[in-house]
Symmetry: C2
Subunit: 235 residues, 2 copies
């Protein structure tokens, strides 16, 4: 937790918050902070700054906060991702939040097991928890927006072309394709398949929607590795 | 398992192997393979190729193998990594093997908890298991070599300067440093700190050994994300 994220409900006055939950525990046990200490804070979807501990008891901590800095810049990307298996989903949500992705489309695909859509990890509070952990790691405050598309074809035919229209649209796929481009200045839409990759029909659909297949080279990466690799190359 | 890794003990004839362990289970249950099917195989520290199932029983599978292809090229890097916490170590070992790192130095550092050196995850068989999973993922056969340095100073004073001598030596550290360079053709030595980063003294030691600090930008990444990001940028 490199940043303590603050929510509207935490404020008891315009520059004063009281925390009682895991953030309080973290400040007390991990930071081992004391009255007078200053910690990095940020308001969800708002500014970052400093919080000075004005009171610390066994139940709660009170901070006087000054919020005056913009959070780190977002990445100009729409990420489209075939729904990963639950454990990988958890880490992936953290990673995309840490790296600055602000729009994520989780889609169905032939090689996504239908049962993955039933996982408790997709419950709103679970997803939020992972995204917040990711933001705290990067000292970011801007919550990513996630859209869920449980059917591939309507997504590929109706939504993918719109996303491709205002950006450079890429689909990462093993094969004899051009390498992932580097240091892009323009907005990117990037689709990443499930374990085992998209099937041919899906790649054809992405191509029809205006997506250009790109390769990551000979080595096949797990989704949780492919995403940081692709984002690191692109930006 | 994108590749079935074969060991010397598996061979019953020059081009014939019998598998009974998790590889047999995987072939049977995940691949749902049958006699006559062909699977990607590779010999540990050797060539890759194809294995044709010549016999499949409830206990074992026999393959006729043809090994004729070089494994993917290694990354020209010495990676130096402050020992991560056990769970992160597991995933990191897989990741570095998948991405093609062949030399890893795990070092102590001020912010590495001493107890991390006692984890069962550092036992030779556990380390090997994760590295093999990483190789199988990337269809690679060349086992990474790992060295362990439980004291920072002797490593920084005696070994780091040698590593720096024949390569471009970099230490990733948050701060106002140049960005990570891209698309390097020359051999690289790269040091990555623990959660919380190296301490100032350690950065000074790396600099004295010929290492140049580089930054990954404003966002602080977890080690398991920083490594794929750094490797993706460098190569």
């Amino acid at each position: 937790m490199n940043l303590i994220l603050l929510f509207d409900d935490d404020f008891i006055a315009p520059q004063q918050v009281v925390l009682r939950d895991r953030r309080f525990q973290h400040i007390k046990q991990i930071h081992r902070a004391a009255q007078g200490d200053t910690l990095g804070v940020g308001q969800l979807n708002g500014l970052t700054g400093q919080g000075k501990i004005t009171r610390l008891t066994d139940q709660e901590v009170e901070l006087q906060v000054t919020l005056d800095k913009e959070p780190p810049a977002p990445l100009p990307i729409n990420l489209i991702l075939a729904l990963p298996r639950p454990q990988m989903l958890k880490r992936t949500l953290q990673t995309i939040a840490t790296m600055g992705v602000k729009t994520l489309h989780l889609i169905h695909s032939n090689r996504v097991e239908k049962s993955f859509w039933q996982t408790p990890q997709l419950q709103e509070d679970k997803v939020l928890e992972e995204l917040l952990l990711g933001l705290e790691q990067a000292k970011d405050t801007t919550l990513p927006h996630i859209e869920y598309h449980k059917r591939f074809r309507p997504f590929a035919e109706d939504i993918a072309p719109q996303l491709a229209q205002n950006s450079k649209a890429l689909v990462a796929h093993p094969g004899p394709y051009p390498e992932c481009p580097q240091k892009q200045q323009q907005p990117i839409t990037l689709a990443v398949g499930p374990e085992g990759g998209f099937v041919d029909y899906e790649i054809e659909k992405f191509e029809a929607a205006g997506f250009e297949p790109i390769s990551l080279g000979q080595r096949i990466l797990r989704v949780e590795t492919a995403i940081p690799v692709l984002l690191a190359k692109l930006f």
